[in-house]
Symmetry: C2
C-alpha cells in the first residue's frame, strides 16, 4: 500500500496496493475509492496496473484535508487514509473548462486560449523521438496537442508502434494488399489480441507522456477512437469498447490536462453508429468524475455538436477554400467554443489537407481568432525518413509556429477572456472583447484584413474620445504604434496582405 | 447622301443623308432601311446624328451583293442603292456568339476565350488618356472591356466627363453634401437636361472608342445603365429609357464587337424594377438586328440568369473568400457561359473589392478557367492623381496582366474550344476539352493546385497509353516538359503555390 500524505490541488493523488492475481484481474475484480473533504465527496473507480498492483487515482479540487476509503473485490481488506491538499504552484491553474459559452478558462479563472497542434502518435514513437517532440513543444506556442491512444495505420505511418494496448500479437503487415489496405471497416486477419487483458505498460507510457505535457503547460487532447487501423482496435465490440473506456477514464481522469476526443473522423468509423457514440459519451461522462472537456471530430459531416455531452466543437475543414471564415456562423449554430482542430496543415505532401503554405495557415488562424474561435496547427512537410510532425512529432520545420506564437500573444492581450466577432464594414473582420463590460471600458477593437491589401482604412468610433492605434503585421510579427486619433480618422497601411489594426480607447 | 459601294463582311455599312430639322429630329421623325442579299433580309432603324444628318447602319453577314431601301418621315424621298460585301480581312472573325452552351466563338467559328478588364469610363477621359489606354490595351492580354455610356460618379470619379449624353447642363457638384452624395435613388437638383435631345457628339465619340477597340481585337462590353450617378441618368422615366435604348441600339448595333451589359449592379438601381429590366431587355432584343451578347451584372444578388434574353452570366464576387470556386456550380445552375466580370480587382485601395493581390487575382482566374468559366480583370492601385485603371484607364501598374496573358495562351492551346471541369481527386481542380471527342482524342487534362503546395502528385489514366506531362508554374509563367509516363505515375512538383500540370496522350 502506497500513497502520499500531501499533494498539490489539481494534481494526481495515487493509492496503490497489491491484490488478487488469480482469474483475470482486469475483468474479474474491482477497486473503488471514496474521497471526502469539507467541500467535495467523490467515489472513483480504480484499475489493475499489472504485476499484481491495483491503483486508484484522484484529483482534489480544494485545499483541504481529505479522507479516503478504498474497497473492492480486488482484496479482502478495506483501506482508509488521509492526505492534505496544498495550494497549486507554478503553472498549475487546474483543468480547463468552458466559460462564457464560447471560451475557455482554467479552474482558477485564468483565461485559456487553445493553440493546438496535432501529432497523432508522437507518444508511440521511440524514447529519443518523444524527447525531441517534448523539446520542440516546449519551445512552441502550443498549449494543446491531439494524439491517439491506439496506434495509427496510414500514409507515412506503416510501422509498428512501440507498444499495443492489449496483450497479444499483431498481424503480419506484409500481407496487406492494395485492396484491403485502406478499407477501414474490413477484417484484418492475423491479429491475435486478448481484449480482456490490457497491456498496462502501454497506458503507463501514455501517462508518462500526459505528465510530461502537464509539466510544460500543454493540454492532452486524447483521441479515444480513430479509423486508421490495421490491428482491429477500431472494430472491437460494444462490450470491449466499454471496458476500454472505463479503463482509460479510471487511469487518466485524475490528470488535470486531459481532454476527451471521442474520435478523430468519427464518420469514417464504419461499424459505429450514432447510438454507439452516444453510449460511449455516456460512459465517459459517468466514469470521469471531473467532467473533462469532451468533443468528437468529423471527417466530412459534423457530429451533432448541440448534444449536451459535447463541451466544444472540434472541427475539421469543410471546404478547400473556406473554413475558418465560418467560425462566427458555427458559434451561432452551436453556442459552444469553436476549435478548428484541423484546417489543413502547413506542408507539402500530396494531399490538400497537408499542403497549405504557412501564410495560408496563419491567415486561417487569424480569421478564426477574429471571429471568436481558435485555429489548430499541424505540419506535414515531406520527409525522406517519413518523420512528419503531424503524426510522429520530432522537430518543427515550418514558418507558421512563430507567427502562431505572435497571434497567441495578441490574443492573450485581450481585455478579459476571449474575442467575439463584431459586424463592422463588409470587407473586414473585427473582434472585440467577449465580455460586454470589458469591451465597453476599453473600446478595444482588433481588425483583420486577411489577403486584402488596403493602403489605408477609415475608422469612426465616436466624436469625443481619443483612440490609440497600432498597425500589426501578422506575418512579419510587428506591432507599430501609429498614434492617437479622434472622430473620423484614417490609418495608413502598407498595402500588403495579412495586416491587422488594433484600437484602444485612451484614458 | 453618302454610302460605300463595297465593304467587308461584319463591318459597318453606313448610309447618311440630310433630312428635316424642323421640330425635334430626335423624336419627331424616323428613318428605316431594309437590306437584302441572297441569304438575309433585315429591316433596321436609323438615327438622327445632329447637324441635319440622319444615318442608318448595317452589319452584313454574307459575302454577297446587297440592295437597300431607305425611307421614313425624316425626308420626303426614298433612297435605294446596292453594295458589295467582300471577305473579312485581318483579325475580323465576326461578332462573338455563345457556342456549345458554356463557351464563345466568333461568327467564323474561331474560339473566343473572353479575357476581360474593366475601365468604367476610360472613354469619357481626355484624348491623351484615351490614347494611353488604347496603347495599354494593345499590349495587354485583354480581349474584352467593360465600360459605361453614362458618366460615373463615385470614389476617385468626382470630376465631370468630357461630354454628356443629353443636351443641357449638369448640376453644380459643389452643392453635394455627405448626406446625398451616395444616395443613388435621390434627387440631385440642378441638372437641366432635355431628355428628348441627345448630344450626338457624345455618342460619336463612343463610336470612335468602339472602333478603336475593334482595330485591336477587343470586344466592347457596353454598360447601358449604372447607379453611380449625380446627373439623373439613372433616374429617367421608362419612356426616356426606351428612347435612349433605341438610340443606342440604332447607333451601335452594326459594330461587330459590341456586347450589351444592361447594367452594372442592377440591384443598386433603386428605381428600376424587374419588370423594367425585362422591358429594357425586350427593347434591346428587338432593336438589335444581330443578337449581340446580352448580360446583366449584379452587386449582391444575381439577376435571374435563366431568363432567355440573358446570353451569358456576368457575375460579381459573391463572398470575400470564395467566388471563382463556384464556377462549376453556376454552370450547372444556369447552363450558360460564366463570365466573372468582377471578382475583386488587383490593387490597394481601402475597399476589399479593389485591394486583392496579383497572386490572388491570378489564382481566381485559374480557378475560373479550370472550372469552365472566365475570370475578369480590374486594377485599383491608389494614385495621387486619382487615375485608377478600373475607372479611367491609363497605364497598367500591376503584376497580374502578364500572368493573365500566360493563362490566355494556355487556354487557347486547348484542343477544340473551351475547358470543362472534370471531377478527379477531391483536392485538385481538373479541366478537359469541352468537346467530348476532342477530350477523347487527346487525353488532355489540365490540373490546377491553387494555393496548395504539393511536392508531388500521383496520376493514373490507363495502363496502355503514354502521356506527356508538363509542369506549369502559373505565377512564374514557365512550362516544363517533365517527360513521358505510363500507367500509375508520380510527378514531382516544387511544393510551391500556384502550380498546374498539363497532361496529353502521346501518339
Amino acid at each position: 500500500m502506497d500513497y502520499p500524505t500531501q499533494i498539490e490541488k489539481w494534481s494526481v493523488f495515487e493509492f496503490s496496493c497489491g491484490g488478487r492475481t488469480d482469474a483475470n484481474p482486469f475483468t474479474d475484480f474491482d477497486i473503488t475509492a471514496c474521497f471526502e473533504s469539507g467541500s467535495e465527496k467523490k467515489t472513483v473507480s480504480g484499475f489493475y496496473d499489472g504485476d499484481g498492483i491495483y491503483k486508484v487515482r484522484f484529483m482534489p479540487s480544494f485545499e483541504e484535508e481529505y479522507a479516503f476509503r478504498v474497497s473492492g473485490s480486488f482484496c479482502d481488506e478495506v483501506f482508509e487514509g488521509r492526505f492534505t491538499v496544498t495550494p497549486p504552484t507554478g503553472g498549475n491553474h487546474g483543468p480547463v473548462r468552458v466559460c462564457n459559452t464560447f471560451y475557455f478558462a482554467y479552474a482558477d479563472e485564468t483565461p485559456y486560449y487553445p493553440v493546438g497542434t496535432t501529432c497523432y502518435v508522437w507518444n508511440l514513437q521511440n524514447d529519443e523521438r518523444i524527447a525531441q517532440t517534448l523539446d520542440s513543444l516546449k519551445k512552441s506556442p502550443f498549449n494543446k496537442i491531439r494524439f491517439c491512444i491506439f496506434p495509427k495505420h496510414y500514409d507515412y505511418n506503416l510501422g509498428e508502434p512501440r507498444s499495443y494496448p492489449y496483450q497479444g500479437t499483431p498481424m503480419d503487415s506484409t500481407v496487406l494488399t492494395k485492396e484491403n489496405f485502406w478499407d477501414y471497416g474490413a477484417e484484418t486477419p492475423g491479429n491475435n489480441w486478448d481484449f480482456t487483458r490490457f497491456q498496462a505498460e502501454h497506458f503507463r507510457h501514455i501517462e508518462y507522456c500526459i505528465g510530461e505535457l502537464l509539466k510544460i503547460g500543454i493540454e492532452a487532447d486524447l483521441i479515444l477512437f480513430h479509423p486508421y487501423d490495421r490491428w482491429g482496435f477500431s472494430r472491437m465490440t460494444a462490450e470491449e469498447n466499454e471496458r476500454y473506456l472505463r479503463y482509460v477514464t479510471a487511469r487518466f481522469s485524475a490528470y488535470r490536462n486531459v481532454w476527451w476526443a471521442l474520435a478523430n473522423e468519427y464518420d469514417i468509423l464504419k461499424n459505429k453508429s450514432i447510438d454507439d457514440w452516444e453510449r460511449y459519451a455516456e460512459i465517459i461522462t459517468e466514469s470521469d468524475p471531473y467532467g473533462h472537456l469532451r468533443s468528437i471530430h468529423n471527417c466530412i459531416g459534423f457530429y451533432d455538436h448541440t448534444r449536451p455531452w459535447v463541451t466544444h466543437c472540434s472541427i475539421q475543414r469543410q471546404d478547400l477554400y473556406r473554413t475558418a471564415e465560418y467560425t462566427n456562423e458555427w458559434r451561432e449554430r452551436f453556442k459552444k467554443p469553436i476549435v478548428l482542430d484541423e484546417i489543413a496543415y502547413e506542408g507539402n505532401i500530396q494531399h490538400a489537407w497537408g499542403n497549405i503554405s504557412a501564410r495560408e495557415l496563419v491567415r486561417r488562424f487569424w480569421e478564426a481568432a477574429c471571429r471568436g474561435g481558435y485555429g489548430g496547427h499541424g505540419e506535414t512537410y515531406f520527409d525522406e525518413n517519413d518523420i512528419l510532425w503531424w503524426s510522429h512529432g520530432g522537430v518543427l520545420k515550418g514558418e507558421s509556429p512563430q507567427r502562431i506564437a505572435f497571434l497567441r500573444m495578441i490574443m492573450e492581450q485581450t481585455p478579459g477572456n476571449g474575442l467575439r466577432p463584431k459586424a463592422m464594414a463588409w470587407d473586414e473582420v473585427c473582434a472585440v472583447p467577449a465580455e460586454e463590460d470589458k469591451a465597453e471600458q476599453t473600446g478595444y477593437h482588433l481588425f483583420y484584413y486577411s489577403f486584402m491589401c488596403p493602403s489605408f482604412r477609415d475608422y469612426w468610433f465616436d466624436d469625443v474620445n481619443e483612440y490609440s492605434v497600432e498597425v500589426i503585421d501578422t506575418w512579419n510579427m510587428t506591432v507599430e504604434n501609429v498614434g492617437t486619433f479622434k472622430g473620423r480618422f484614417r490609418v495608413k497601411l502598407p498595402g500588403r496582405e495579412f495586416m491587422a489594426v488594433r484600437v484602444r480607447r485612451k484614458g
